[in-house]
Structure formats: structure tokens, C-alpha cells
Amino acid sequence: AGSSAPAPKNSILVSHRQKGNPLLKHIRNARWTFADIVPDYVLGQSSCALYISLRYHLLHPDYLYYRIRELQKNFKLRVILCHIDVEDVVKPLHEITRTSLLHDCTLLCGWSLEECGRYLETIKVYENKPADSIREHMDNDYLSRLTHALTSIRHVNKTDVITLGSSFGSLSQTMNASMEELARCPGIGERKVKRLHDTFHEPFKRVS
């Protein structure tokens, strides 16, 4: 865990203010070290985070505002990491949401210290990661592509995909199946038949 050696480049910098925060115990997938910094955590070249728990906010409603004001503008990503640790969240969360929105901060919520810690780790670990895993991706496996396409139709499930596939042999044949043929597939009820048929046969544009 935290060492007092000069800060290595690839570790999370933790403000001395955070000393004693049990959250630190849950940072295990990234190295971290204490440093003299303004934000609570520095997570990369241009990203930092402030930690606040709802309970603390209820006691010190102005705290967050002052902390944000101290932050320099040289962080592109300024995360407010909010620990949801009270039952009645609506009012305090509303205030925190409003403050972070008005002061150009991104709010992330965690429901446990593990979850909060995981956000810090992940932002550090993913510092230079491309966004591929959240962009539209082409899965090369035929069945999962087929499932992906067919399940876009409401109420069509994985079993139906297999039923349709094995009944008609190919997607193009499925797309040209008649109502009656669709209805003969086990597990495909009236409503699904209609929905499938409509999707395939109704024109893309209803009015030309």
C-alpha cells in the first residue's frame, strides 16, 4: 500500500487529507501514494477526484463547494466521488448533483467503499484505454450476432432465436417467412409472430 517513496508516475496520488479514509483499503488494483496535492486524488495527467460521503455533506453542506473552488483548472476531468451512505438520499444528493453540475464536475456514485475504490482504480487503470469496449462492436461469432439482431425485436428471446434459426435455416429465410410459418415454430406465440412479421414486412418508412 502507501509508501513514502517519491511518487511513481503510474500510481494514484492521495492527498494527506484522505489519511484514515477506509476507502484506501479497497484500492488494490492500482498503486497509490500520499502526496501534497489539492484534490483528494490525482488519477492521471489531467484527471482528479474529490471524495465526499452523503453523511458528511449533511453535516457540512458547504464543504464540497469550497473544495471545488480550490481545484485548479488544469484538470480536464474533475470527478466528485459520492459515497451513498444514508437512507434518505434525495435531498443531499440533489444538492451535490447541483453543485457538481454548476462547477463543471462529473458526479459518480458508489454505494459501498469497495465501489468507490473501484472507480478510482478503474479511472487510473483505464487512463489511456481506448473506448472500444463501450462502442458499437461487431462480435464475430455468428450466433451472438444473430441473437443481437433478432432480440432487438421486443420479447424475442435467446430460445426464440435458436428456434427461428433452426426452423428456417437462415436469417434471410426467417425474414421472408409468412405469418403461418412463424406461428408453427414452438414457443412463438401470436404476438411474437405479429411483431416479427411487422418488423420484417412493414416498410421502413410508413409514409413516403
Partner: protein, 986 residues
């Protein structure tokens, strides 16, 4: 119209606020609604205005239309179905036509908000699915938009009493939100209803058909598996034990009970608990299909399930599920040694299985004449393995045929007595027999049963099943062989590659079994080929299979067999393996066309003769034409056919309470007619239980509603007008509120109304409704970017939790945020939790030890890293969202409608899209299209321009596709995907 219906209408018209009617399902909702419409139409003689009918399901619409537009009389009342894609000016014309209009709440909301429809032009509002109303529902929104400015009656109907009692004081809350004071309850047991319907009741015959032994076995096994799942679920201590009984488990509403209890903690549940809930749903299906599907289709469904559910399910590994699979197979075929012993039982040697065999034997004896005779035993002599077809027919089939015979005889006798010649016409008028079953496919199958004979139907299903198996197997080898012939003669593997071979013995047996199946399949395909081209004796295709696939032996173990069977010794196994191999070669070498054609002859060829034989066994009717005229009706289709076909005999093949009521009403409306109703129940089946408890459940619902009615508190004003939910935008209320907070300033509150631009598609959700409740002006527009525009700077993309996970997975969210960040200074992602669900993403156990790319935390972090300007709002509930919106809007300018509309709209041809755009598209097809490989954000529009529908797209040649997709490569990818053979069972 029956007297009680008139009473319903009269009661409703008494109160100028309207009322809520809850009927037993199956009572004539359509006829009541149309009578009400006629009365209202009569009252409102002034020209112009309209009557609005909301959320009527299609079959109900059709019925009302039929009732109002009597064929040979002048239509009493204009009736229009306003399609959501109807151009706005056409809609406007209809609004002032003094007609009754069917509408979707979405289009109507938009028209009311844009003042295209003035509330004062509406004479009355009819809501046909009141069980879906709540204070945040879209029909309540419509009711409020109307009632706010204009006092008009709201009539709400529901024929789902059990849905009206789900949740706390649901009826009362629905009534308040619809401005309704009176609740009218019309259960089947209401005195008036009962006396109307029981004055001349139809003659009822209850036929109990015993299930076959294996069917009973499967039912017991499914119930056992359900019980086990429930016990497991109970162990989680998360659900109320009382509601969790197998009895309730057979109903769809059971899921609702479980979900309502589990939803608040859904995200904290482990995978296993969630899977249990899903498994219960699957098991209920199995129970239902057992009495609905024929044995082969049932087996096919099970096969599919095994592939799709695979390792995920809990129940699939339970003992009872082995029994399900085993018995289901036994209803179709079994594999026996040449010496007659059952191969499987032989290997297991357990007493239970032995018993099964004897039972099976008995069953086979019970199967009479036609069934057994047709059972060709496919012998693969040297292999020593027989595939014995059993092809159990559904017991109800036989009973149905007998019934029809009986009815025909009776009719002939009666006609004889009346000394009337048997004339076609008279026969049809009086003698139609209506067979009511659950769905269209059962209708088709039963029809074939009657015309071709049940055995023929089973054979056809069986052949389809075998060919399907063989085709899949052929596919498996397609990569190397160019031959497309779906023949299975190679080394064969089991249906499912499950795990690695822990025990090899079973694998060879399952191989043998599959072998046998495939041999049978190839015989069929040969015969078919024989028929097509007589001289085709080419066997080369068959020989090929030999070389390949040996390595697959070990993998090919069906799960069921692995755990059920005692390991065989290795030597034994290899023996069998070799045997199997050689057997196949020789077997196929020996196959010659004549042999098969004769075999087929005996099995299936002269179907007509066979059917005739079958007939003669029951009545003395040799000619199938002497069956009474039969019509089939699918209950699911919800068409009301009784009045059209006027049957004199109804056979309820799949009992359903709603249909029973319809029959009662039909009889009551035609008191002079003779009507005989047969109910076909499987004895001691879940079917009976389900039918009986559906009646009980409905009665309980009504009793609860009667109690609720006596305690209801509905606020009214001095003029006995219903007040409904409090509104923030009543001018007085608002200014007085403001005056308190702004007294110090001494300034008048600003006159300007807050406004929010809302995407048309968002009217499916309740947020616009609640925003309006808070006094914000809603401007409906089709937005290309974002869902809500709060100010020129702030744009919001709203995601419910489910949406969030889905759109992360599909990558849509990334695109949406990307465009929003491009066009707005303050782009906001609103993550909206549901009030009655837990406020958290996941349970602590799901967080795991490592940073995993699939976790929601990782996805959100990545999103935030890539869009540091993105603001995230976490909202506890709908109402919290509204508060946040209000607070974000302070000190911001009002959004500009014209500007928001143009944002992100591709302006290639400079055309500004008009506001009904979203409704003009088949959104489901577009979503589907965009998920196809080769289709991208940049080319899907041109694809849509270039072809009419998906069905058309599937048939386009690759050259044409290339033009639409914009690249050869993309077009090829798309074409290959569309035409690829589905390797689903492999």
C-alpha cells in the same frame, strides 16, 4: 344487447364525471362501449367535436367497429382509427368531425400540448384499458390535459379485475388520476349478469381425457422441478414464502408476484436467484406446452431449450429434469438392441427405469391399431441397434375425432327425423362445429388431424424433426465438403457438445442413438428423393461422412445421459464404437431404394386408406366427408367469431375462462338457439388446475374490489365535480406559492412559464407527464440529439437502469453522448432509478476483485474518461428528476424549439424534418437493420431509401446491396450474414 349491459350503460351515464367499470373477463366490453358511444352521440347534438377512445387493443377496436357499423344500415356514428402516422392536418380535421376516434395516447398528448386539439372540442373520453392507468400513466396525462380546461366525462373500462387489485389501492388511485368518482363492478356473479346468462344456459358436456403415462410422468417431473426451484428461492429468504406455491407458479402473474417482491433488491441478488426466477418461467412453459404441443414438437422444444439454456439453468441439472427429457424422448422414439432389450435401460439397470420400460410396454399396447401398425422399425442390422418409433399421439386428438363422429351421427339422425334431405345449405347453417384452441398452430395441426388422420400428422412432424437433425449434422461437415446433402452417415456426434468427456461409455451410446436418428433421417430423405427423381441411387454423398469426426466422440455427450448412466468399460465402448462405425457403412451400402419405398409404403403412403380405417373403427362412417362442418378458432387471436359463424356445437379444446364467458354471452344473446358445449380437459392435469384457479382468482379480485369500494375516498368540489390530482400550474395556486417565497423582493413573479423541449419518443415514459404536473410547459418535438432540452446549453439523455446497461452493451450510448457533447455546452446523462427498485447498481459480490471490462463501473469510468465534459445526474426517482430539472433551469434561458429541432439533423438536402417524423418509421425494423453486420451509422439511411422493408432487403442481390451499403466489402458481409446457414444445434 342483454339487460345487464343496458344497466351498465345507464349507471355510467348518471354521473357527469363518468365512471370506472370493471367487468369479468369475457363479458361483452365492446357492446357496452359501443352502446355508450351511441348514447353519448345522441346527447351531443351540436356539430363538431369528437369522442376519444384510448388504449383499445386491436381486437376490441374491430369488435366495436363491427357493432357500430351495421352492414346494411346507415352508420349511426362515424368511427375512425387514427393511425399515429396520419399527417397532423388530417388529424385536426377528424377532431372536429363529431366522430368517435381510436387514438394512441402518444399522438394525442402531442396534439393537446401543441393545441392542435382544443380540450373544449372533446365530448367524452373513453379509456379501454383502465388497469394500466396510474397517476403517471399516459392516459392519465391525457385526462388531465383535457379536464384541466374543460369538464368532460371520462369513462374507463377494464376486463382484468385481477390487474385492478395488484398494488395498494390501485383502483382508487387510478380513479383519482382519471377524475372519476364512481366505481361500477360487474363480476360474473353479479345478480343481473348471472340471471341474464343463466336464463337459457347451453348444454355442457365435460370430457375428461386421461393423459398417457409419459405425459403424466413429465407433468409430475415439471412440478417437482418447479417445487425444487421454489424451495431454493425460499432459501434465499428474500421473498414472502406464503405466495410461493406451485399452485400459483403455474400462472403468468406469478412472475409478477415474485418480481414485485424482488425488484427493490433485484440488483443485490446473486446470479443464481435471478436464474431461478427465469427457470420458473421456463418450467411453466413446459407445463403449458405439454398439453398443447404434440410429442415431437415438444421434444423439439426441449432440444432447443437445452441448447439455449445450456449451462446457465439450475433446473436443467436437477434429477427431475432428466426425467422430463427422458420421457419426452420416449413419447417419440426409443433405441433398442436388436434382441429387443432397451439399450438405455440395459445400461442403467436401475429398478425405476425398468418400471418405466414396462409402463412403456403397456402404453404401447394401449395404442391401438393405426399407431402401432405404422411403427416401422428401422433396423440397422449389423449394428444391432433399432430405432423404434413410438410417436405418441395426443390423447385429445382421438377424443376430438370421436366427438366429431358422434356429432355427425346425431346430425344425420336429426335430419333424418325431420325428413329433410341432407342439403349442404341447411347443414351449414345449423351444424357448424367450432373447435376452440389456444393458438393458430394448434388449429392448423388439429385441422390436419381431422383431414389426414393423426398418424399422418405425427409422421410429418417426425420426418421434419429427423430432417432437421440431419441437416444440422450435414452442416457441421459443410466446411470441408461441398455437398449440401443433409445426410448423416459419418461419425456422428450427440446433439449438444457439453463439456469434455468425463465418461466415454455414454458418449458412444448417445452416438449410436444419434446414428440411428440420422439413418432414419437419411432414409426419409432418400424416399423423398425417390419420389422426386426415381433413378437417383447415388450414394457417394453418404460415404463421405465416414472419414471425419472421430475426434468428436469424446465431446459429444448429452448432459442427460452422462449423469444418468453407469460408466461402461472401455473395451465395451470401443466395441460399440467400431460396431457403430461399420454398421453405418454397411447399413448405408445396403440401403436400396426399393426396400425403403416399401417400408415407407407400409408406414405412411396411403394415408387416406389409413385414415379411413381409423374412422371405421369408431363409427360406421367410411367416408371422411361425413364429418360435420368444422371451424377452428384460436383463442389467442382474440377475434370474435361466435356471432359470425353461429356454431351450434362448440368444442373447447383448450379451456379458457374468457372464452367460456363469451360462449355464455353468445348463448344468452341467442336464447332460442340450441347450443352444446364440450369441454376437453386432460384429467388431473395442470390444465384443469389452471382453469379452476383462474375462476377463483377472478372472484377473489372482485371481492377485494368490493371491499375497496366501500372504503374509497374521492375528493370532489362544490359542484360534485371530481377534483383529481393537485396541479401546480393552476394559475392561482402558483402565484400564491410564489408570493410566499418572494415576498421579500416585493417584485411580481415573472410571468414567463418554464418550458422544456421533449423528444416525441419520450412520451412513452412518465417523465413528461410528471413535469407537466409540476407546471412546466412541455414542447413536444422530434429530437435527433438528446431526450430533453432544458435550456440552450443543457441537453439531457435519460436512461433508466435497464436502458443504461443495454445501451452500453450495444454501444448506442457512446454514440448518443458523442453527438450530445458535440452540440451542447452542458451535455447531461441522467441515470434514473425506479422508485420501487433498489437505489444501487449491483450487489457487493458483483463488484469482484479485479477491474473487469464488463462491469458497469468500468464502462462508466471509460465513458467519463472519454467525455470529461459529460455531466452525470443520478436520480432516485421520477419525482427527484423533476426537482433536479427545475433546479437546473434556474438562471438559464428557455430553450429554443426551432433550434433544438435542427440540432444533429443531417441537412444534406436542406430539408428540415417535420415533427411527426418518428412516428413515420418502423422503428423496430430500423433497430434491427442497424444491428446487422455491414450496416453502419453512415449507411443505414441510404439502405432504407433503397429498399422498402427488411424482407425485401433479404432478397436483394449483392451488387444492389453494394450500392446501398456503399462498399463491396460491407455488402458481402451483410449478404453472407443474411444467407448463412444457422448452425444453431451444433
Amino acid at each position: 344487447m342483454l339487460p345487464f349491459e343496458e344497466q351498465v350503460v345507464a349507471d355510467l351515464l348518471e354521473d357527469p364525471n363518468g365512471g370506472l367499470v370493471v367487468l369479468s373477463s369475457g363479458l361483452p366490453l365492446a357492446s357496452i362501449a359501443s352502446a355508450l358511444l351511441l348514447q353519448l352521440h345522441h346527447h351531443h347534438q351540436s356539430p363538431g367535436g369528437c369522442f376519444l377512445i384510448l388504449s383499445a387493443p386491436d381486437p376490441l377496436k374491430a369488435q366495436i367497429r363491427r357493432l357500430l357499423l351495421q352492414p346494411n344500415s346507415q352508420p349511426l356514428l362515424q368511427l375512425h382509427d387514427v393511425a399515429p402516422d396520419l399527417p397532423a392536418h388530417h388529424r385536426a380535421a377528424l377532431y372536429s368531425s363529431r366522430a368517435a376516434l381510436f387514438l394512441s395516447p402518444r399522438a394525442l398528448t402531442a396534439d393537446l400540448l401543441t393545441s392542435r386539439l382544443l380540450p373544449s372540442r372533446v365530448h367524452a373520453l373513453l379509456l379501454m384499458s383502465a388497469h394500466r392507468s396510474s397517476d403517471t400513466s399516459s392516459d392519465a396525462f391525457v385526462a388531465r390535459l383535457l379536464r384541466q380546461h374543460h369538464l368532460l366525462p371520462v369513462y374507463a373500462f377494464s376486463d382484468r379485475p385481477h390487474a385492478m387489485v395488484s398494488g395498494f389501492a390501485k383502483a382508487e388511485r387510478a380513479m383519482k388520476s382519471l377524475y372519476i368518482r364512481r366505481l361500477h363492478l360487474w363480476p360474473r356473479f353479479h345478480v343481473l349478469t348471472a340471471s341474464d346468462l343463466e336464463r337459457a344456459p347451453p348444454e355442457v358436456v365435460d370430457v375428461r381425457v386421461p393423459m398417457t403415462q409419459p405425459m403424466r410422468g413429465i407433468q409430475v417431473a415439471v412440478l417437482d422441478a418447479m417445487d425444487a426451484c421454489l424451495k431454493e428461492l425460499r432459501r434465499t429468504n428474500k421473498v414472502d414464502v406464503e405466495d410461493l406455491t406451485v399452485d400459483k407458479g403455474i400462472f403468468k402473474s406469478f412472475d409478477e408476484i415474485v418480481r414485485r417482491q424482488l425488484d427493490p433488491i433485484w440488483h443485490t441478488l446473486g446470479k443464481k436467484t435471478k436464474q431461478l426466477v427465469a427457470d420458473l418461467r421456463t418450467l411453466r412453459k413446459l407445463l403449458d406446452y405439454l398439453v398443447r404441443y404434440d410429442a415431437v414438437t415438444y421434444l423439439k422444444f426441449l432440444d432447443t431449450l437445452r441448447v439455449s439454456e445450456g449451462v446457465r439453468s439450475v433446473w436443467i441439472f436437477a434429477d427431475s429434469s432428466h426425467k422430463i427429457f427422458h420421457l419426452a424422448k420416449r413419447r417419440v422414439y426409443q433405441v433398442v438392441r436388436a434382441d429387443g432389450t432397451n439399450l438405455l435401460a440395459d445400461n442403467k439397470g436401475t429398478p425405476t427405469k425398468k418400471r418405466k420400460v414396462t409402463q412403456k410396454g403397456k402404453e404401447t399396447e394401449n395404442e391401438d391399431l393405426s399407431a402401432i401398425k405404422g411403427n416401422a422399425q428401422k433396423i440397422n442390422a449389423e449394428m444391432g441397434i433399432l430405432l423404434e418409433e413410438i410417436l405418441e399421439e395426443a390423447p385429445k386428438w382421438k377424443v376430438l375425432r370421436e366427438l366429431l363422429q358422434e356429432i355427425a351421427e346425431e346430425q344425420i339422425k336429426r335430419d333424418g327425423e325431420n325428413v329433410q334431405p341432407l342439403n349442404e345449405d341447411g347443414f351449414k347453417k345449423s351444424g357448424i362445429v367450432l373447435v376452440a384452441c389456444k393458438d393458430e398452430s394448434s388449429c392448423l395441426q388439429l385441422q390436419e388431424c381431422i383431414t389426414k388422420g393423426p398418424h399422418q400428422v405425427m409422421r410429418a412432424e417426425w420426418e421434419k424433426y429427423l430432417l432437421g437433425k440431419a441437416e444440422l449434422h450435414g452442416l457441421h461437415r459443410k466446411n470441408k465438403k461441398t455437398s449440401q446433402q443433409p445426410k448423416g452417415f459419418g461419425v456422428l456426434d450427440g446433439e449438444v457438445p457439453m463439456g469434455s468427456g468425463e465418461s466415454v461409455g455414454p458418449s458412444s451410446i448417445s452416438n449410436l442413438e444419434t446414428n440411428a436418428l440420422l439413418v432414419a433421417a437419411s432414409e426419409i430423405s432418400i424416399v423423398t428423393k425417390e419420389v422426386n427423381a426415381k433413378d437417383d441411387s447415388n450414394v457417394s454423398g453418404r460415404k463421405r461422412g465416414l472419414v471425419k469426426g472421430k475426434g468428436k466422440f469424446k465431446k459429444a455427450i448429452t448432459n442427460r445421459e452422462t449423469s444418468n448412466r453407469i460408466n461402461k468399460s472401455t473395451t465395451d465402448r470401443s466395441d460399440l464404437e467400431v460396431e457403430g462405425q461399420s454398421g453405418k457403412t454397411d447399413g448405408c451400402a445396403e440401403i436400396d431404394a426399393s426396400k425403403f419405398s416399401t417400408e415407407e409404403d407400409s408406414a405412411s403412403a396411403p394415408a387416406v386408406d389409413k385414415a379411413a380405417n381409423y374412422f371405421s373403427a369408431f363409427g360406421d362412417l367410411v367416408d371422411a366427408k361425413l364429418l360435420p362442418p368444422v371451424e377452428f378458432y384460436a383463442i389467442d387471436s382474440d377475434q370474435h367469431v361466435l356471432d359470425v359463424w353461429k356454431p351450434s356445437v362448440i368444442i373447447v379444446y383448450h379451456p379458457d375462462i374468457t372464452f367460456v364467458r363469451e360462449v355464455e354471452v353468445y348463448k344468452a344473446e341467442n336464447p332460442s338457439m340450441k347450443l352444446k358445449v364440450y369441454f376437453l380437459f386432460y384429467e388431473d392435469s395442470a390444465e384443469v388446475k389452471k382453469f379452476e384457479s383462474s375462476i377463483r382468482r377472478e372472484n377473489e379480485a372482485f371481492e377485494s374490489l368490493i371491499r375497496q369500494k366501500s372504503l374509497m375516498m374521492i375528493p370532489v368540489d362544490q359542484n360534485v365535480r371530481c377534483i383529481g390530482p393537485a396541479l401546480a400550474n393552476e394559475p392561482e395556486a402558483r402565484s400564491s406559492q410564489n408570493s410566499i417565497t418572494r415576498k421579500a423582493g416585493g417584485r411580481k413573479p415573472s410571468e414567463k412559464e418554464m418550458q422544456v423541449i421533449v423528444d416525441m419518443r419520450e412520451f412513452m415514459s412518465s417523465l413528461p407527464n410528471v413535469l407537466h404536473q409540476k407546471g412546466i410547459r412541455i414542447i413536444p418535438i422530434t429530437l435527433e440529439v438528446g431526450d430533453y432540452v432544458l435550456s440552450p446549453l443543457i441537453c439531457v439523455e435519460r436512461k433508466s437502469i435497464v436502458d443504461l446497461f443495454q445501451s452500453f452493451a450495444s454501444g448506442r450510448l457512446y454514440n448518443q453522448i458523442e453527438t450530445m457533447v458535440r452540440y451542447y455546452k452542458i451535455p447531461v446523462l441522467l441515470i434514473e432509478f425506479s422508485q420501487d427498485k433498489s437505489f444501487s447498481f449491483q450487489s457487493a459480490s458483483e463488484i469482484g476483485d479485479d477491474v473487469s471490462p464488463t462491469n458497469i463501473i468500468s464502462k462508466l469510468s471509460l465513458l467519463v474518461l472519454h467525455f470529461p465534459r459529460l455531466r452525470i445526474v443520478w436520480s432516485r426517482s421520477l419525482h427527484a428528476t423533476v426537482d433536479i430539472f427545475l433546479s437546473l433551469k434556474t438562471n438559464q434561458d428557455e430553450p429554443d424549439e426551432n433550434k433544438a429541432m435542427r440540432v444533429g439533423v443531417p441537412s444534406e438536402d436542406g430539408v428540415v424534418e417535420n415533427d411527426v417524423r418518428a412516428e413515420n418509421y418502423n422503428t423496430s425494423a430500423i433497430e434491427f437493420l442497424r444491428r446487422l453486420p455491414g450496416v453502419t451509422d453512415s449507411n443505414y439511411r441510404s439502405i432504407m431509401d433503397g429498399c422498402n422493408s427488411l424482407a425485401e432487403l433479404a432478397l436483394l442481390p449483392v451488387q444492389r446491396l453494394a450500392q446501398l451499403v456503399g462498399s463491396q466489402k460491407g455488402a458481402r458481409t451483410l449478404k453472407e450474414f443474411l444467407d448463412a446457414k444457422c448452425p444453431t444445434m451444433l
